[in-house]
């Protein structure tokens, strides 16, 4: 049932699954190739969650953990990105306190000047989170945020997200549904508020 896809049309190189075969045998160079492919995505995600300063630290921790857990990677999967997002989310969870501090700081920063579309994360990372989106995200629970972001970024199904987060897939579906409802309501409310 397993396959050996050695060619990835998207990258004109071996798929992550093919690279991870040798990574699982201890090939650090192949792991570096996986790193090169996904560091931008993981960095954007983590930086937007915890801020750029802590973010890079967590990114390195994510890849270090990925190496340590490499035997758990499912080699039938073409892309390692959803798996890395899952690990990154675990790293973010461990740094919830840091995340909260950043949210507080960003909120203060936004209040000081900016308003809608404010760049709350700058300093070289280039990630922008609009004020309405940030406010909407703050209405979600931590787990709802995790499920929502993993679904959107990793293009993962609720079942896959559940596996990444160690929760039941029913719980993942419920959280996703709630998160989407809350987000839609908050964004619509915010837009109406701005328009008036």
């Amino acid at each position: 049932m397993t396959t050996n896809p050695t060619h990835n049309p998207e990258t004109s190189g071996p798929t992550d699954g093919a690279l991870m075969v040798t990574v699982q045998r201890g090939d650090a160079v192949a792991f570096r190739m996986v790193f090169e492919r996904h560091v931008d995505a993981i960095r954007g995600y983590v930086a937007a969650r915890v801020g750029p300063d802590v973010g890079d630290d967590l990114v390195s921790e994510t890849f270090a953990t990925a190496w340590q857990l490499r035997d758990r990677f499912d080699l039938t999967v073409t892309s390692a990105r959803p798996w890395l997002y899952g690990i990154a989310t675990m790293m973010v969870r461990r740094h919830r306190a840091a995340e909260q501090r950043w949210v507080d700081a960003a909120e203060g920063e936004a209040r000081l000047g900016a308003g809608r579309g404010a760049q709350v994360l700058g300093s070289g990372v280039g990630t922008t989170i609009s004020a309405p989106l940030r406010r909407a995200m703050e209405l979600l629970t931590a787990l709802e945020r995790d499920v929502l972001l993993l679904t959107a970024l990793a293009d993962a199904s609720p079942r896959e997200v559940a596996r990444m987060l160690g929760i039941s897939h029913v719980s993942a579906r419920v959280r996703l549904s709630r998160a989407r409802r809350k987000l839609a309501a908050a964004l619509d409310h915010d837009t109406r508020g701005d328009a008036t």
Partner: protein, 293 residues
Amino acid sequence: MSLMRRQATTNVIDQDDLLVEAFGPVSTDEARRDAIWSQAMVRIDGATGMPSVPGARSARRGWRGLRVAVVTAAACVVLTGLAAAAAPDLASRLLGLRGPELDRMEVFQEPVAQDEVPAWALRQLEQLTEDVPGVPKANLAGSMVGTKQVRLLLDGEMAGVRIGMWGTPTSTSRACYVWLSGRAGQPFPARGGGGTCIGFRDGWPLSESDSFDGPNWFVMGGAADGVVAVRLTLEDGTKADALMGNNAFAWIGRDHDPLPVAIEVERVDGTFVRRPHNLAAYADEMLGRRAQR
């Protein structure tokens, strides 16, 4: 304005677009990538995630503080010019270059011919060795470890494939290896191959690792002093000799040919040691090799 309109009719697709825009990939310059990678490698080594000699890490930890102090002192000595002649040997010992790996691999005591090292292989080795903690980067920049310690360990052909392997000692008990493979009789390609840092373990005289570069499987690595032959038992019961180099060996087989299930080492004193190395089962499990036949 477009953001406003999009938010006014928020649906799942719009939400995902917003989230990807805010939490999606960012551009990471090379220097930052290298910094993140190096930090990850330090964490890996700190968690014994990469192969190492049992017990070496705890010993290293205990000596780290002392080593830092001694290296600092040695640097002062070198800077004042008081020990110029003795500096290379002193520095080597302080950096741990005479650890277990070197004691057991004579090749790392031999003179180095730097022109034998392809640029790509050298770059890969430098990436690997830069990531090994315990060696100050300044020393690597001075090419004490990263280039002058690099040796050609093996250049041979098997199964229609040419393979080259280069190695360098590290500050720990491991050595780092990179290899390039190409068509037999042809120059090495400019890129490709693989590499790892690995040490001898449990008294076993090889530090082998496997690699797959479709359709070929490779079993290769370092061989301690005194190893005169490496023979692999294949899944059909036949035996195949590995290529031997300077403190290195390599075996190459095609995906659908019989793969190794055990490795046997012949020592210079005529004794043999053997251990399972079930690459065949691994290939079957991971690549569905048997199903493809």
